[in-house]
Symmetry: C2
Subunit: 353 residues, 2 copies
């Protein structure tokens, strides 16, 4: 274990399995509506997609939380659905209702998708990465990201969010060959997309598989683990050593199999993963997570106790402090400040235990 | 292992840990919109709540799936939200949007609730139980049910369904004393409600904790496991030996701790539980589940394979075949017929393996 300050980019060291006197931290959805400065930029940007595709504004909101709280990593401000959008699927964000896409439900529908304009549409995202990297504090790292194929496919097939995943499961279970084509297309596009982010300056990548927990084991292995493995392998071929965080939310007892097969450096843990389980997984990979975002909403003693429990249980192994899901919109910004302070004070707190 | 036909109520035997040449089966939400005969009754009933509170109609829809498919158990047709309704909380079902309740968000709001009219409001439910029991085929058993306190509280506090459980977690984490009062009230009301169902003829009970997986370990132990334990203990004091199925959906690695603490006879497993994990749990309790309802929607080879895998992995231990979540509305009724046939043919299929 070395001193945190002695490591030029502690977040990257943690992903490679190193430990320090305190874990690095960042928060999923750390750039977002709970910050008044975000809401200001958002109001200027037109639509949500306009914000994602306007490098100056996207770079600005990416950096905002680091200015306030000094996180050890910034995550590119974007959305997982820019990939289907860049593949030619119509996409709109309806205020208060979430994303709406013209659904792809059969093999025949796949003809509407093409990789031909991928980098043209996503060019502004790469430019955002360059702008952020240029302005980033030197001890902080920049995370690029994409949705994992299964999760992106759920939105593409359902046409938006879903409760029961009826359409996407009908496609996946009823026509695995056709659905496999969609997944292959996403593996290819996601690999290219992440490679360009890395070339533009991303120093680590995270694959978000938000709806991984909706699948039973067989389908989880086929549509979550295998496509993730394929992407990780292909990205590493172009960019050896790039650290990869996988976040198969809701994977339950399949977290370990996922880590092994997908070959990720770090596992994002959802709120349901117990600390015992996290310690077990930590013997194999760096773990990241998994404070309940609602505790950040509530603050006070409940927050302090849960943060302390995580630091005490996981702080000695390779660990990145984070939430188990994104920051909630109603979160008071001062609670995030209190959290940052607790993590920074951990080396002293621990001595006093 | 005895012959299935030799056991007067095979479902009850399975809950007590016995095995037979094939497992008994029933399906969560087996009475519902996928059945044309249900839709006919539903159209006559006025509101959804009217259907729940009209014993003749509720009994009729409870029995419909058994007539078609010969399930080994009927489950009372009702809704978990009749308990808050009977405690005095305003409740309406909005077509296409789900339930809407006047939310309870603070200790002060609890004053709006009272147990005074509980059995008066719920009387028609007990009458439904009596009617169903009188008409039930003698080899089939009748399951009574209630929502577990945590899940019922999520609806009471959120005022309906929720994505992030922000309000209920704010209450539970921010004012555990006040939230504990709500949970205690639900423990008491649910215990009384289930006891009356048993007195009216329910032969087993299931506690649905649909949103158990939204809580991290500490809160899961406090708001899922402990209230369930309290209900099981109190119900068993009045009705020794009554079999209890607990369904803490999304419990992940906490399923085992739940079974141990709550003292249930059987565990309902959600779709994410692997067959390995199910076999491990089966050494301790009867397991029930966990076919993905989307496979019943799709039918064909994918359904057959998944049903076969479950029967082969779990059929030799104490097991109740079921889904991992409720039947989906778009499910073709003939797929349920094919499933019933596969289970009934299992003793011969197994011999041929």
């Amino acid at each position: 274990m070395t001193s945190f300050a002695a490591q030029p980019k502690p977040f990257l060291h943690a992903l490679k399995g190193d430990t320090a006197d305190r874990p690095p931290f960042w928060l999923m959805r750390q750039a977002g509506r709970y910050l008044p400065e975000y809401r200001k930029v958002r109001a200027r940007a037109g639509s949500f997609l306009d914000l994602c595709y306007t490098p100056k504004l996207a770079a600005e909101v990416t950096l905002q939380p680091l200015r306030r709280y000094g996180m050890d990593a910034a995550i590119l401000f974007s959305d997982i659905l820019v990939v289907p959008h860049a593949l030619g699927q119509e996409l709109a964000y309806v205020e208060g209702e979430g994303p709406k896409l013209a659904p792809i439900r059969t093999s025949a529908d796949l003809k509407r998708l093409t990789t031909g304009r991928l980098h043209e549409v996503l060019g502004p995202v790469y430019e955002t990465v360059r702008l952020v990297r240029a302005e980033l504090p030197e001890e902080a790292a920049l995370i690029g990201f994409a949705g994992a194929p299964w999760t992106v496919a759920t939105y593409m097939v359902e046409g938006g969010g879903s409760k029961d995943f009826g359409h996407v499961k009908r496609f996946a279970y009823g026509d695995p060959g056709g659905f496999g084509e969609l997944i292959r297309l996403l593996v290819e596009a996601t690999t290219d997309y992440l490679s360009r982010q890395i070339e533009a300056g991303a120093e680590a990548i995270q694959l978000f598989d938000t709806w991984a927990g909706a699948l039973p084991e067989d389908a989880f292995r086929r549509w979550v683990m295998e496509p993730t493995r394929a992407i990780v392998e292909a990205v590493r071929k172009k960019h050896p050593g790039i650290p990869v965080i996988g976040f198969p939310r809701g994977a339950g007892s399949l977290y370990e199999a996922y880590a092994e097969t997908a070959g990720v450096d770090a596992l994002g843990l959802d709120t349901a993963v117990t600390l015992d389980e996290a310690q077990r997984l930590q013997k194999r990979v760096t773990v990241q997570g998994n404070l309940d975002p609602a505790l950040l909403l509530v603050g006070g003693e409940a927050l302090e106790r849960a943060v302390h429990d995580r630091l005490a249980a996981l702080g000695a192994g390779p660990y990145v402090f984070n939430l188990g899901h994104g920051v909630m919109q109603a979160t008071p910004p001062e609670h995030v400040g209190a959290l940052a302070e607790m993590i920074r004070r951990w080396p002293e707190t621990r001595k006093g235990l």
